[in-house]
C-alpha cells in the first residue's frame, strides 16, 4: 500500500472513532465507548507503523511524499487542497501521538469509569487525536491552521469537561482565548509568507523561500515572528503561558495527553517544520531561543513552590518545552525532536501516577495533605521514581541523553549561546530539585490518614465531594466527577498503560546514545537535509563534560531534595522565611496573571464598557434605531391625524381637492 494511503488511514481511524461514539453515545452500553475509542487510536498507531515501514522502503532522498485528497477551492491565488505530507518528521510525530494517545485512552477507561460523561469524554479525546494528527500530517498551511484550531477547540472541550465546576469552565475559556492569540499569529505569519511565495503548499514554499526572501528582509522576519507567536501560545511559553496551569482543571488523562505529550508540542513541531523559513530569519530564531531559555528557568523556579501536584508537573512541562523550543531555534532539530519523544513518555507517566495518587486521596490534589504513600501505592511509587529520574536527567534514563544533546548543540553555536547553555544547566539542577521535592513529599514521611486507610485495604472516599481548587462543595451528577475513583494498584488497564510508558521512559534514550548510535538523527535527516545546522556534533570534549555535568547536577539536586524534604523539613520553612520576597514571587507565578490582567484584560473590559455604554447605547440604539423608528412613527402619526373622524374635515379636504383641480385647469388655459 502506498505510504500516503497509510497516512490517510492514520487520519481516518480516530475520525471514525469520534463519529461512532458521538452519534451512538446513547446506545453504546457500558464501557464500549472507551473500548471503541482505544481501538480507534490503536488502529491509528498500527497505520502509523505501516507508514513508517513503507516510508523507509523509499530511497533516502525520496522520502517526502504528498497526497491530495480533494481540491477545496482554487481562487484568488490561493489553492486550498486537502493534502497531507508524509515525511520522516510527520511520521515521527504521528507515531508519538498515536502511541502515547492509545496508552492514555487505555488508562482513561479505568480512570473515568462510571463518570456520567464517559462517552462524551472519549468522543472528545478521539476528536483531539484526530486534530493533532491532522496538524502534523498537514501538507499545506491551510490544513495546518485547521488542525491548529481544532486542537485548540478540543483542548477547550476537554479542560472544561466537568463543566459544572466554575473553575473548570473559566480555565477552559482562558485556554481558548490565549490560544486564539496564537492562532491569529499563525494566520498572520502565513499571510506574510504567502505574500511572497504565492503558495500555501509546504514543499512549494520551502523550495521557493530561499530565492524569494533575501536574508533579513522584513517580511520573512515578521512572518517567522508571528509563527513563533503561534508556537508560543500553543506550547505555553512566556508570556502566553498562563493558561497551562489552569488547564489542570481537566481530568488527569487529559492533562497527560494534551498538556504534556501532544498539544503543547505542536509549537515545537511548527518550528521544526518551518526550519527553512526560520533559517532565513535569524532574528526570529534568536527570539525563539531566548524565549525558550527564559521559560525553562522561570517555570522551574515556579515549580519549586507550588503545592498542587498537578501544577508542579504542569510547570515542569512548561520548562521542558522551553528546552525543546530552544533546541529547535538554535538548530538542534533532531535533538529537540528526540527530547519531545522522551518527554512524552516520562511526562505522561508522571501524570498518570499523579492521577493514581489523587484517586488514593479521594480527589484531593494538594501536596500539603499528602505523605507516606510508599507502602500503600508501591506501583505508583515505582512509576514516579522512574519518571522523576528520567525528568531529572539521570543516566541511563531517557531524559539524560536528550536534554544534554540539546545543550551541546546550543553550546556549539557559540557566541552568546553560551548563556543559554548555562541557563539550561541551571534549569536541569532546579528540575531535579522540584521533581524530587514532589516525590518525597507525596511518598515519604509519615503516612497520612488516607494512606493508612489504603494500607488497611480500603480506598478513601470523601464524604462530601469538593472542588480541589477552591474547596467548593459539589455533587456527583453529570458535569462533575463521578463518585468513582481508583488507584493504579487496583485497575489493570491503568497498570498496563503505565508499564508501557515506564518502559519507554527507561529505554527510549537508547536509540540516540552519543557516539554509539543516532537513530533519530538519521531517520529525520531527509526532512532537514538542506539545513546547514544539521551536522552532527564534533566536539567530543564538550560532550563528555556536558554529560558529566548533567549527571552531577541531577544527583546533587536529588540529594538536596532528600536532605530538605525527607530529613529536615525545617530547612524549607526557614528558607521560605529568609527569602520571603523570592518565595512570594515564585509562589505567585511571577505575577504574570496579574500583569496580563492589567495590561490586556482591564483595558479590553474598559473598552467594551465604553463601547456598550456610549457607542452602542447612544449611537446605535438611540440614534440609529431610535431615529429610524422615530421617523417612521412620527410619519405614521402625522398620516393618522388625517383620519380624525370629523366629517367636516373630510369635506374640507374634498373642497380643497376640487379647488386644486380647478386651479390646475385654470392654468392649462
Amino acid at each position: 500500500m502506498a505510504t500516503t494511503t497509510w497516512g490517510w488511514l492514520v487520519l481516518l481511524f480516530p475520525l471514525l472513532g469520534t463519529l461512532i461514539i458521538a452519534f451512538g453515545y446513547r446506545r453504546l452500553p457500558g464501557n464500549w465507548a472507551g473500548i471503541i475509542g482505544t481501538a480507534a487510536i490503536g488502529l491509528a498507531f498500527v497505520a502509523a507503523l505501516g507508514a513508517l515501514i513503507s516510508l523507509q522502503g523509499h530511497a533516502s532522498d525520496h522520502r517526502e511524499l504528498t497526497s491530495s485528497l480533494w481540491n477545496y477551492a482554487n481562487t484568488v491565488g490561493v489553492n486550498a487542497e486537502v493534502s497531507i505530507l508524509v515525511d520522516p518528521l510527520s511520521v515521527f510525530m504521528i507515531l508519538i501521538v498515536s502511541g502515547i494517545s492509545s496508552m492514555i485512552h487505555l488508562y482513561s477507561i479505568s480512570y473515568l469509569e462510571e463518570d456520567r460523561g464517559f462517552a462524551r469524554y472519549f468522543a472528545y479525546l478521539n476528536f483531539f487525536v484526530f486534530s493533532m494528527l491532522l496538524l502534523v500530517l498537514a501538507g499545506n498551511f491551510l490544513l495546518l491552521i485547521v488542525g491548529w484550531a481544532f486542537v485548540g477547540a478540543a483542548s477547550y472541550l476537554l479542560i472544561s469537561f466537568w463543566y459544572r465546576r466554575t473553575t473548570a469552565t473559566r480555565a477552559g475559556i482562558k485556554a481558548f482565548v490565549v490560544n486564539v492569540v496564537g492562532d491569529a499569529g499563525l494566520v498572520l505569519g502565513t499571510y506574510f509568507i504567502f505574500k511572497h511565495t504565492h503558495t500555501l503548499d509546504f514543499q512549494g514554499t520551502f523550495a521557493a523561500a530561499p530565492h524569494v526572501f533575501h536574508t533579513v528582509e522584513a517580511d520573512i522576519v515578521a512572518g517567522c515572528l508571528l509563527l513563533l507567536v503561534g508556537a508560543i501560545a500553543k506550547s505555553a511559553q512566556i508570556p502566553l503561558h498562563t493558561w497551562l496551569p489552569d488547564a489542570m482543571e481537566g481530568p488527569t488523562p487529559v492533562s497527560a495527553l494534551i498538556h504534556a505529550a501532544t498539544m503543547v508540542t505542536a509549537g515545537v513541531y511548527l518550528i521544526a517544520r518551518m526550519h527553512v523559513l526560520f533559517e532565513l530569519a535569524p532574528a526570529a530564531q534568536d527570539t525563539g531561543a531566548v524565549i525558550g531559555a527564559s521559560t525553562l528557568l522561570i517555570a522551574a523556579t515556579i515549580a519549586l513552590t507550588q503545592t498542587d501536584i498537578k501544577r508542579v508537573i504542569a510547570y515542569s512541562t512548561m520548562s521542558q518545552i522551553g528546552y525543546m523550543i530552544m533546541g529547535e531555534s538554535v538548530g538542534a532539530y533532531a535533538a529537540g525532536m528526540f527530547h519531545l519523544m522522551t518527554h512524552a513518555f516520562f511526562k505522561a507517566l508522571l501524570f498518570m501516577g499523579a492521577g493514581s495518587i489523587i484517586g488514593a486521596m479521594g480527589g484531593e490534589q494538594s501536596l500539603q495533605k499528602m505523605g507516606g504513600f510508599r507502602k500503600a501505592l508501591p506501583f505508583t511509587f515505582a512509576c514516579f521514581i522512574i519518571g522523576g529520574l528520567a525528568l531529572s536527567g539521570i543516566p541511563p534514563f531517557s531524559g539524560f541523553f536528550s536534554k544534554d544533546e540539546i545543550l551541546l548543540v546550543t553550546a556549539e553555536r557559540g557566541g552568546w549561546h553560551w548563556i543559554l547553555y548555562v541557563m539550561g544547566y541551571i534549569g536541569a539542577f532546579l528540575t531535579a530539585i522540584y521533581t524530587f521535592r514532589m516525590i518525597f513529599r507525596a511518598f515519604y514521611g509519615d503516612p497520612v490518614a488516607e494512606a493508612q486507610e489504603l494500607e488497611a485495604g480500603h480506598l478513601h472516599h470523601a464524604e462530601v465531594p469538593r472542588n480541589p481548587a477552591n474547596g467548593e462543595v459539589e455533587d456527583t451528577d453529570v458535569g462533575f466527577p463521578g463518585p468513582h475513583h481508583t488507584v493504579a494498584e487496583r485497575a489493570l488497564p491503568m497498570r498496563v498503560a503505565m508499564s508501557v510508558l515506564a518502559v519507554g521512559a527507561i529505554g527510549a534514550g537508547l536509540v540516540q546514545i552519543p557516539e554509539v548510535d543516532s537513530v533519530i538523527t538519521n531517520f529525520l535527516h531527509p526532512t532537514f537535509a538542506g539545513s546547514p545546522l544539521y551536522e552532527p556534533h564534533t566536539r567530543d570534549g564538550l560532550l563528555i563534560f556536558g554529560l558529566c555535568l548533567g549527571t552531577a547536577l541531577g544527583l546533587t539536586g536529588i540529594a538536596i531534595a532528600y536532605r530538605i524534604w525527607v530529613k529536615q523539613p525545617s530547612i524549607a520553612v526557614r528558607a521560605r522565611e529568609r527569602f520571603a520576597p523570592l518565595y512570594e514571587l515564585s509562589h505567585n507565578k511571577w505575577y504574570f496573571d496579574e500583569l496580563i490582567d492589567y495590561i490586556v484584560v482591564r483595558p479590553a473590559a474598559a473598552a467594551g464598557k465604553f463601547a456598550q455604554g456610549t457607542f452602542e447605547r447612544v449611537f446605535v440604539q438611540d440614534t440609529l434605531i431610535g431615529g429610524s423608528t422615530g421617523i417612521v412613527r412620527a410619519g405614521s402619526a402625522a398620516v393618522r391625524a388625517v383620519q380624525s373622524g370629523f366629517v367636516r374635515y373630510y369635506a374640507a379636504l374634498l373642497v380643497l381637492g376640487v379647488t386644486g383641480v380647478a386651479f390646475y385647469f385654470l392654468l392649462q388655459t
Binding site: 383620519q643 370629523f646 367636516r648 374640507a652
Partner: protein, 99 residues
C-alpha cells in the same frame, strides 16, 4: 342677461353650499347645504343647455334631482336611526371612524 350671469349665480350658490357643509354641525343642515350645492350644479347645467340649444343639460338636471331625492331619503333615514339610538345629533360627536 347673458349666460355668464346665470353661471355666476350658480358659482356663488355652490360655494355657499360648500362653506355650509364645512361649518355646520347639525347633520340635517349639512344635508341642506349639500342640496344647495346640487342646485347650484343644476342651474349651471340648465344654463349650458340653453347655450348649446339641445336638451342634454336638462335631462341631466332631472337625473341630478332624482339622485338628490334618493340621497335625501337615505340620509334622513340614517339621521332618524341615529336619533332613535339616543346618539347626539352632532357631526363632530359622531366620529367612531377615527384613527
Amino acid at each position: 342677461m347673458t349666460i355668464g350671469w346665470y353661471l355666476a349665480v350658480s358659482a356663488i350658490v355652490f360655494c355657499l353650499g360648500a362653506a355650509g357643509v364645512m361649518v355646520r354641525r347639525n347633520p340635517l343642515v349639512v344635508l341642506l347645504c349639500l342640496e344647495l350645492m346640487l342646485n347650484g350644479a343644476n342651474l349651471a347645467l340648465v344654463a349650458f343647455s340653453r347655450m348649446w340649444g339641445n336638451g342634454d343639460g336638462q335631462i341631466l338636471a332631472l337625473v341630478v334631482m332624482t339622485v338628490a331625492a334618493c340621497e335625501v331619503c337615505i340620509g334622513l333615514g340614517m339621521i332618524v336611526a341615529i336619533h332613535r339610538r339616543r346618539l347626539p345629533i352632532d357631526v363632530d360627536e359622531l366620529r367612531e371612524l377615527q384613527g
